[in-house]
Amino acid sequence: MTRWITLALRLVLGAIFLYAAWTKLRQPWLVFALSIDAYRLLPEWAVFTVARVLPWLELALGVMLVAGLQLRLTAMATATLLAGFYVAMIYSFSAGSGIDCGCFGVGEAVSARTLVRDGLLLAAAVALVISSGRRRRMSLAMA
């Protein structure tokens, strides 16, 4: 049972990360930089660095999740990243700034809907960390 749950979680999260990476990489990276900058959480140099690096990180995590490579480590990185996004979105939503969330390209404001969606993704990533850890312990015990 744990095996099927792990498979479903990593495929869903992997597909979403691949889609998120694609929506960012198909447009000029400075468009994503503007979305990050609107949060007003990072200094200028960090905005440019995150805008250049994050889409590729999402792509790498998406590929690793779908392929099931280094699953526990990948799941932990995914959960950490999603937790970071979630904190930034809660901050923006509570400030009522109405900015783009920048999750899947432009045109989607931070809203209750995006918070619920990202909360579910975060919960799925945490569940994946737990289930992949359980599977690892089981395989170690069998060995």
Binding site: D37, A38, E44, G98, D100
Partner: protein, 196 residues
């Protein structure tokens, strides 16, 4: 020969003015033929709009609009959650009719906190005008033209499916980039340079 030189000089000056000078017709600023067009939707009572106005729009006007690189069109998008935003938008549009849009716009954002609390939006706007202009503004605010302009801007924003304010719609030829939120001048200018 002197005439030819004179004509050339006058022609050159007119061309330079056409290319570089900011054509201030109130809500629209700059050269309509500029390669980049920015439509800015804002709400005078929104703190993020004030932040964008204070930190980003002023240097944008100086460095991109006045140099002929950007044509800036300001549009009113008063949000229903802000009780005085609609009145402020009407006042700004009335100020445009007496050629004082920029002064009133600057003053609205400068004194945002004060009139948000007191509700005296018109008083705040008039404080930056001469008594004669203030009198004209008071008359024009109650006329229908200002309301019609606000309605037209609101419709334009609804057509763009805006999520909130401030939002800039940056257009270069056929590519359009909606930018929501109080982005910094440093990041915006780098983006605009990349479009040149």
């Amino acid at each position: 020969m002197k005439r030819i030189i004179l004509f050339a000089l006058l022609g050159g000056a007119a061309f330079a003015q056409g290319r570089l000078a900011a054509f201030s017709t109130g809500k629209a600023l700059g050269n309509p033929q500029a390669p980049i067009r920015i439509e800015l939707f804002s709400d005078y009572q929104c703190p993020a709009c004030k932040q964008l106005h204070d930190e980003t729009i002023t240097p944008l006007i100086n460095n991109y609009v006045n140099t002929g690189k950007v044509y800036l069109v300001r549009r009113e998008f008063p949000l229903p959650i802000h009780s005085h935003a609609l009145a402020a938008a009407r006042i700004a549009c009335a100020a445009e009719q007496i050629g004082k849009y920029q002064q009133v716009c600057d003053q609205m954002f400068r004194t945002q906190e004060s009139w948000t609390q007191s509700g005296d939006v018109l008083g705040a706007a008039c404080s930056v005008l001469s008594p004669a202009d203030a009198k004209k503004l008071r008359e024009l605010v109650s006329a229908s033209q200002a309301s019609q302009t606000v309605e037209s801007d609101l419709r334009a924003g609804q057509n763009e499916k805006l999520n909130g304010t401030p939002t800039m719609i940056i257009t270069k030829v056929v590519r359009r980039y909606p930018v929501a939120g109080p982005v910094s001048y440093a990041v915006l200018s780098r983006f605009l340079d990349s479009l040149q």
